[in-house]
Amino acid sequence: MRAQFVLTEIGVGLWRNLSITISVIIVTAVSLFFLGSGLLFQRQVNELRSLLYDEVQVSVFLCGAESTAISCADGEVTQEQRDAIVAELTDGEVAPLIEEFTYESKEQAYERFLVQFEGSPITENLTADQLPESYRIQLVDPEQSATVASRFEGQLGVESVDDQRELFVGLFRFLNGATAFAWFFAGIMLIAATLLVATTIRLAAFNRRREIGIMRLVGASKFFIQLPFMLEGIFAATIGAVLASGFLVGFTRVFVQDYVGGRFNIGGLVGTGDALLVVPVLLLVGILLAGVSSLITLERYLRV
């Protein structure tokens, strides 16, 4: 009896306020979609970062016979200069930052080059002597690459230092900006959703002030009076969250996986699995948002 009565009340309430119920659903769906996108984007950025940073190397190229850098004024790198670099890598200031390093001779560089540019005409005129020998350094923490790189820049016998991380800095600055943007929008839309739920409940309470007045007089409990309103808000927000989840999963599948993944052939993209992980978060946030907003509104406008 009770449950059936409460459910009827909810149905009547939602139907009477159909237009505003729909707007609650839409605003909740959009705000939660932004929230979900923010979460997925964050995940994508983290994934990409670990993927790319794993590859990050600092390469110290040594002077060849024809190098023109100032630090190569003495001509081709000498064994003493090589020893100095190795000593620095193993026992020097930057040694704790280095995970491992390998020496790559001109011949090894040449072989790698041939593999990398297999079939290209550029390989035909190239000799091993034209390529520089180098130390390839893997770092404990890729974020520290600039410290290591600057240590070797300008050292005698070093022609140039290549810090791969610098390539990614711009990319990550952009991605972080985009994530912040998604969060910002999600925040604003969530505020809008919360206020809209509050307004809806006020309106619903106003529409049913006669019933509420009678319920109070005949001694209906506070819980019983407020429950239908709260459930109405939660019901609408849950539908919004379900829609947002659907959009998000669809978006990940169609846009990220099929379109971006198919077109640019890059790995490490977020998939529907990641999107499904976000779904419970969206549902929870939606329900909490509506529940808390209802509670506060009911405390303020529906005293029993």
């Binding site: 006669r210 319920m215 005949v218 209906a220």
Partner: protein, 229 residues
């Protein structure tokens, strides 16, 4: 049943007290008319009985409880011992007479079989046999007030408060409502009725408490409406 001890009620916006140091006692089973001009404090008296308002000073005891000490979560249960009737009936226009009465039972969680049994009983009691399916707009004013009384009485309250129940009704219809309230009173329910209806009060010869500017100026066992003026 209802006891006010030195009760004063002042509303924030008003300078004068709505009730000024009122002390009165109403016993179980009494029928009391509360008379006085508009703004004399009749409605405040009823609202204090329901714990719709809190007294600024003094104590209000209703049905054996000190209302100042009644926790707010216990108020709904307390109100189930009270029935209230208003001048404007306050029926739900989209529900039939029977549904209006059933609503009062549904919202306090009464099971369906109890409701199905009780509603026809109470409709018969108020003389609305066979009109359970009529909506308020298909009923006369007197019949609507009978539905409202049925709704107030359906829980067999210990106390029935009526705020100008005949205020919107013609004299003939009012007599019927009065007789109904009298009958309810005879079942043991304490009835407190605020009214302007002097003829009614004069006819009934019940206890009359007269308020003027928040002060009791007369409390007469078998009174008439205008004796003190």
């Amino acid at each position: 049943m209802i006891r006010f001890d030195n009760v004063t009620k002042v509303y924030k916006a008003k300078q004068r007290a709505a009730l000024d140091n009122v002390t009165v006692n109403i016993d179980r089973g009494e029928f009391v008319f509360l008379v006085g001009a508009s703004g004399s404090g009749k409605s405040s008296f009823l609202r204090l009985c329901l714990k719709e308002e809190k007294a600024n000073s003094g104590t209000v005891h209703v049905a054996g409880r000190d209302l100042a000490k009644l926790a707010s979560w216990k108020v709904p249960r307390f109100r189930r011992q009270m029935g209230v009737v208003f001048q404007d009936f306050r029926l739900l226009p989209n529900k039939s007479a029977g549904e209006n009465i059933a609503f009062a039972l549904q919202v306090i969680g009464k099971p369906k079989h109890v409701i199905d049994r009780t509603v026809p009983e109470v409709l018969q009691l108020v003389g609305l046999d066979g009109k359970a399916d009529r909506r308020p707009d298909e009923l006369s004013g007197g019949e609507q007030q009978r539905v409202a009384i049925a709704r107030a009485f359906v829980n067999r309250p210990a106390i029935l408060l009526a705020d100008e129940p005949t205020g919107n009704l013609d004299p003939t219809t009012s007599v019927g409502i009065m007789k109904l309230l009298d009958r309810i009173n005879k079942t043991g329910t304490t009835v407190v009725m605020a009214t302007h209806d002097d003829e009614m009060v004069d006819q009934m010869r019940k206890r009359v408490i007269q308020l003027e500017e928040g002060v009791i100026i007369r409390d007469q066992a078998r009174g008439v409406y205008g004796a003190a003026t």
